[in-house]
Symmetry: C2
Subunit: 294 residues, 2 copies
Amino acid sequence: MISAPGAFLRLETGLPHEAALESVTLACIQFEPVVGEPAANLAAMERLIRQARADGASIVVLPELADSGYVFESSEELARLADTIPGGCSAAFLCGLARELAIIIVSGLAERDGETFYNAAMICGPEGYIGKYRKLHLWNQENRFFRPGDLGLPVFETAFGPIGIAVCYDGWFPETFRQLALRGAALVCVPTNWVPFPENDPQREPMANVLHKAAAHSNGIYIACADRIGTERGQPFLGSSLIVGPSGWPVAGPASADREEIILARLDLSQVRAVRRLNDFNDLIGDRRSDVYG
Amino acid sequence: MISAPGAFLRLETGLPHEAALESVTLACIQFEPVVGEPAANLAAMERLIRQARADGASIVVLPELADSGYVFESSEELARLADTIPGGCSAAFLCGLARELAIIIVSGLAERDGETFYNAAMICGPEGYIGKYRKLHLWNQENRFFRPGDLGLPVFETAFGPIGIAVCYDGWFPETFRQLALRGAALVCVPTNWVPFPENDPQREPMANVLHKAAAHSNGIYIACADRIGTERGQPFLGSSLIVGPSGWPVAGPASADREEIILARLDLSQVRAVRRLNDFNDLIGDRRSDVYG
């Protein structure tokens, strides 16, 4: 992690010079987890992760709450499905897979910490467990089951460069991506379960896609969103997973609204510095008027 | 103005209860100012403002630097074109027109303050001058001619509700709209001179439109962007003026890339509060994790 207060100040005007920024193939896995069926969900995740690896991916992103499903009937149901990170079954399984395949995996997971539950995401790599994030902004009924995240917005140093994580409704807050960019992230992975918003219209792109294009552009970062599909206990999900480049335009996707899919893109994380430098006078991060923002 | 520090805190979770929030017709005027021809520009602005009034508009937004044009050859040229606000010729002319037509006018103007120049915008209404804003984030060669804004991000109380102003490249900084929303703005007027960005493609919408849809949605506010058209001393502009509703979708426009146009929309500023309240648990402003954003 490079998100200590000292690092934050050091990174105010750009990326850390010492960070490795590499070219890498990233996959977003869009699939349909089934609530209450963690074994089946892990099996589906393994099948798709192996496919993504065979397709050349070195970083694989999976949806929010990929192991547990999303629409819980009760706290008791969530308690049966959630587990510790990294000690629990889902976390250990994914860490083992990341080691075996020598890839980075970012996945949403239901986390138990004693008698407290978090809508969490874990990142692991060829060396095993790297770290976790707990969703800061809880959506709707999640507030009944989960405690809001208490780990801030960490940035994880990896072989390919610094990676941040956000989950679903976190993306409605521009501060999420701005803070991750200021803390040095060149790529933000977004496990998500997007649901229809008011004025959602299947004939046009979801507003979620608009938000992430804008966030990638205004921060000059890559953003990789892996959404789920299907309808669970009456709640439909939007699919439309996408990988956005630092110019704000998709480099893969959006995926379909309703089909299991793997979308792949070659990312050049070293581009991030260049994209932010717009001309002789302007830098997307350096031009911030933090003296005014309050 | 309601942007005093005390008001800022009071408004952290929403709009001021005492603010009038009314239904109103707004017009964005897209036209081609000519650099160095302020008299001709004011004549064009008057013709189009009177047309917008005849079309029913009570708020009219004009482009950035509408009186002076944009691409200056030298500081001497800008010095000949810029004037004081509200005492100067352009400002007095627009204040008189707003009084006569009993409307609110927001326009970009080149401002002189002693020997200092600002890329400014003025708001005036049926009672005359209301206030001004000075562009915080200067784009490219503007840095050679203008001093960065030193008036913060004021919000102006009007008969229709609280209105903020941003100018062009200000919109690349999510903090601009967030701060204006936190300070109570229900509508942000954006005089602009959008230029092509890297990866701009005439076959798709400009990234500027994506940014303003995202900003309107994530803050639950109206945003009205009045852009210029034409090519000035080799610099092309994008047109594509638009008025975005608090859901993030356009309620008028985007306009063409190259034609003089007036786009009109009926705004219901009272919607802003309701749009932000997403369900029993979530409020787009109240859900901010200011404890984490640093």
